[in-house]
Symmetry: C2
């Protein structure tokens, strides 16, 4: 039996619809909300391809839909966009004891926690790679052709989801992704909390580590602002350049002079990413 979707809003945009749905997640053991953009083509075509967008720290399903400026071209290209939340939510879901922005609620890191109390709900990897696509594909006018992208923590999420699941995604891209979480403060805090102290466990969720053993040479398209406040301490794209070069993995890393970490940066380049995904999804 499929979990049912409760539609909580429907807003017309560029001839299509931005809708928000609530559903019970068995994987996360809580109610979740996700957003979807259905382009105008969904009126006639029940097998549209889907781009999954994974947002960054502190975001919900709404940030990308409101701020990325992606829906105009999605409407032209006939792309469905699905934007999940960034962590489990609700009463009974553990949060950082200090309410930090970079751990707990809004900071699931798209991994499966093994340590309590996190392991009870924080299984965002299983949610975004399996439960949510199954729900979307059972209930919305989409095909099983999927691509994935995201920003910062969500760029990390998009890259590990693609690298760990050969054949599941037609294409992958990221904006300012955390490409080497085992070697940066955000990742070390999150992985230490969710996964414990065994560094071998951490490496299973790290793009730079995964790329060496990738079974599929899916090209990585990455935009990184050179004025990003988090560039030197958290993001360090040169580590991915080195890992991709060592593995012979195709990487297009575009360093964008003057751009920061915000949605103004994402908006400036999202159309290039949508076209990249549309070519892969519709070929």
């Amino acid at each position: 039996m499929h979990t049912s979707l409760e539609q909580i809003s429907a807003t017309k945009c560029f001839g299509g619809w931005h809708k928000r749905y609530r559903h019970r997640s068995r994987v996360l053991d809580c109610d979740m909300i996700f957003g979807v953009y259905l382009p105008p083509q969904a009126e006639q075509d029940a097998s549209l391809p889907v781009l999954y967008w994974l947002s960054g720290l502190t975001c919900t399903d709404e940030n990308f839909m409101q701020k990325a400026g992606a829906l105009k071209l999605a409407a032209e290209l006939g792309l469905v966009i699905v934007a999940p939340d960034t962590s489990p939510r609700g009463e009974g879901v553990a949060d950082d004891p200090d309410g930090a922005y970079d751990f707990g609620l809004g900071a699931g890191f798209y991994i499966n926690a093994t340590q309590q109390p996190w392991a009870a709900h924080y299984r965002m990897y299983d949610y975004v790679t399996a439960e949510l696509p199954a729900l979307v594909e059972a209930n919305l006018p989409v095909s099983e052709r999927r691509s994935i992208s995201g920003h910062s923590m969500g760029g990390h999420g998009a890259l590990i989801c693609a690298l760990k699941n050969p054949g599941r995604y037609q294409s992958v891209s990221a904006f300012a992704p955390i490409i080497n979480p085992v070697n940066c403060p955000w990742g070390q805090k999150a992985f230490g909390g969710y996964l414990g102290n065994d560094r071998a466990q951490w490496e299973q969720w790290d793009t730079c580590e995964l790329i060496a053993g990738a079974q599929e040479r899916l090209p990585l398209l990455i935009d990184q602002g050179e004025a990003d406040n988090f560039l030197d301490e958290q993001l360090k794209p040169q580590a991915l350049e080195a890992a991709a070069a060592a593995a012979g993995h195709p990487l297009t890393l575009r360093r964008q002079p003057g751009y920061d970490h915000s949605y103004y940066f994402i908006a400036s380049f999202i159309d290039d990413h949508l076209r990249h995904h549309a070519v892969a999804l519709q070929s």
Copy 2:
């Protein structure tokens, strides 16, 4: 002596810059923040035309810049966009005693209040038509060619600013404007508070009243969603259709089936408005 501008942020977007400035407003007797988008052409051209955007109830200078999806085309067209706040702000500025969203802070209605305590600060009409343009034109790379647009309360603001100032704006447009505030609850509450009980005073700030005596036949471009929750009680575009027909004033009122009152609606049609203004500003 010109009031100085304090730059509080600069974010690159579509090759140009979204900047926020703080300044002391003599008209409003408080510190104010406004946002500006400077397209890439501002690097070479110090006399770019300006579109003023007036936002709706509860907004600040940020909503339009983040959510309208306007900056891509503004960058292509070489349009500067200036987005002021929606009311005076800060300590000492009176607010609705109940903290209502539709009066006081975030709800200045772009008029000059005559009643205390409002008259001390609530002079948004003088601010957006005179003080702010003078400040912008003295400090930023712009010409004196101006257009004006806005949403809801800000659509009302754009229309009255243009109608009351023949020759000051090259073009005007609005999304879901409050076109007849003297005959709707939002307007009656605001005008009663800011202006007192003399209805003749109210009519000086009402688009349907002003259009009869307009000294300039500036065409009005208006988009109105037909699924707008405020359509029947607050917006009533048929009143403007009747007033424009009676006055022989050119009006293009586009009723957009299925669209609501949100920024998803604005984003869907903002490019049409930008092109409308660019033609007028650059001719």
